[in-house]
Amino acid sequence: MNLIRIQAIFMKDYKEFSRNYAVSTMVLLPLIMAFIYNKTGVDSMQAYFLPINLAFVAVTSFVQCCLIAEEKERNTLRSLMLSPASLLDILLGKSLLVFSITALTIMLSIFLVGYNPANWLIIATALFLSAVFYIGLGTLCALFTKTILEASVAILPIMLIFSFGPFALQLSGTYPILQIAEWLPSAQIIILAVSIEHVFTATEILAPIILILVWSIIIWFFTIILYKKRMVD
């Protein structure tokens, strides 16, 4: 791990990201949605969190996936791997950039949608852990995509499952199998947000946070193992 290298990769990717409008305009998607939701006057927790969960997939996972896929597409990943920068440096440089973009987008979305959580600290912790999970998801996705085009297709099923998954809960009365969606990190953060609005117990808070943490650990564990395997050749 070398801070200068991480910074170099961060700056390079920041410039590449800001000049690649196909990817960087995705940031606007959750913001526009948040704005429209605010104007149409919805105030359920489900509606508040739709732009946020959308930002996690459409911005966090998608940008991370694109940053790596584009390196493959243009054949730059190989020389990057041959440089003194280690795999950890490369992933950290990219993840830090994606994390910053995510933090900005999520904050703006929360502001635009007009959500005011009762406890900022708890919600911030959950959002931070979710960001870590979605960055891992994007990195994992990049293993299977070779171009930006493939990345934008691959992100669609992920968006369906993770961003819109919590809506399946509303149908769980008719189809009990959909109850499984409750375990998604995107559903857990809504459960958490609902419980902090009232008087809450420690388990009500800890259970969702630990669940999101477990999701993050699992996804990064798989990502790192698969990368080690793939990057050898």
């Binding site: 700056m11 590449e16 020389s79």
Partner: protein, 315 residues
């Protein structure tokens, strides 16, 4: 540590056929060596070099970040490699001072190709393998690349150029090798010069090159490169590393030209390079053939020529 670096490359086989045998190479520090071969062998060689932690391999198809400017790209690479070279020096060496602020996708191919060599200037590995540094470059760009290679040489790096263009290798490198199925051969540039000098004493103003024509291009071969010459239905072909190159000279003219180089008219329609003959095979009392080292080619030998051949070789 001595001044020579040894590299061993395993043999390259496809479905049991040896394409290139296992080779051992020695390279001097602060020198430029060129390896000439065909694309398949060069690709294999480059992939083998890439496995060695002491070697930096710069492949022809390595990409660059199109959306960065030249200056940003250099700064990024500096962050990766932390080299001692300054941006100014680098830009001067690349002759790109006026392109500092240009986005990489606006550069010409020749300029992009030069930018790739920055990797070689920045990393601190002792050996730099560069694939086709001169491909598709004009004369001016070639001079710049040669200057960059010179700078690498000054840094006491061992530079290896892989190319399938002999001319490029000859202009840029100190020592030249050719990789073919029989292994890595030194193409001794100096020896060739002295041989030409000696020749000049006998017949001044004559250079002994064998002109051949292939795909509308005239290729000149040094006599020692040639394996054998064959005449089929009046068409004379020169065989080099198993490849035929048609020539307009007749067998008799060639025989005259090549006899001083150890060539021998072994058959009415064949001339063979005796240096490359490995084996004389007797089939029956009246039929013989010569097997060559390099290619697996077999050349017929007439019965009446056998006596003369025995006399030349001294059996």
């Amino acid at each position: 540590m001595n001044s020579k670096l040894a590299i061993t490359i395993d043999s390259f086989t496809v479905e049991g056929n040896i394409i290139s045998p296992s080779i051992e190479m020695y390279f001097e520090k602060g020198s430029i060596s060129g390896i000439y071969s065909d694309v398949a062998k060069l690709n294999f060689l480059a992939s083998q070099f890439a496995l060695n932690p002491l070697i930096h391999t710069e492949l022809r198809n390595n990409g660059i970040y199109n959306r960065l400017t030249v200056n940003e790209y250099i700064n990024f690479l500096k962050g990766l490699y932390s080299p001692s070279i300054t941006n100014g020096d680098l830009l001067t060496l690349l002759e790109m001072n006026d392109k500092k602020k240009a986005r990489l996708h606006n550069l010409s191919n020749a300029e992009k190709q030069r930018l790739r060599l920055i990797h070689c200037l920045m990393n601190d590995k002792p050996m730099q393998v560069i694939e086709e540094p001169f491909q598709n470059l004009d004369e001016h760009a070639k001079t710049i690349v040669i200057n960059i290679l010179g700078a690498l040489k000054k840094l006491q790096k061992t530079v290896i150029i892989l190319s399938n263009n002999m001319e490029d290798i000859l202009t840029a490198s100190d020592s030249v090798f050719r990789l073919d199925a029989s292994g890595l051969q030194v193409v001794d540039v100096k020896e060739e010069e002295t041989a030409a000098l000696e020749k000049n004493e006998i017949t001044p103003f004559r250079v002994e090159k064998i002109p051949t024509k292939r795909n509308e291009r005239i290729i000149l071969f040094n006599p020692p490169e040639i394996d054998y010459i064959e005449s089929v239905e009046g068409q004379v072909s020169v065989y080099v590393s198993g490849e035929p190159y048609p020539t307009s000279l007749t067998l008799n003219e060639l025989e005259q030209k090549l006899t001083p180089f150890g060539f021998f008219r072994c058959h009415r329609s064949y001339i063979v390079n005796l240096q490359k003959v490995r084996e004389i095979t007797t089939w029956t009392r009246n039929s013989y053939s010569l097997s060559l080292h390099a290619s697996k080619a077999v050349v017929p030998l007439s019965k009446n020529k056998l006596v003369e051949l025995k006399r030349i070789i001294g059996i």
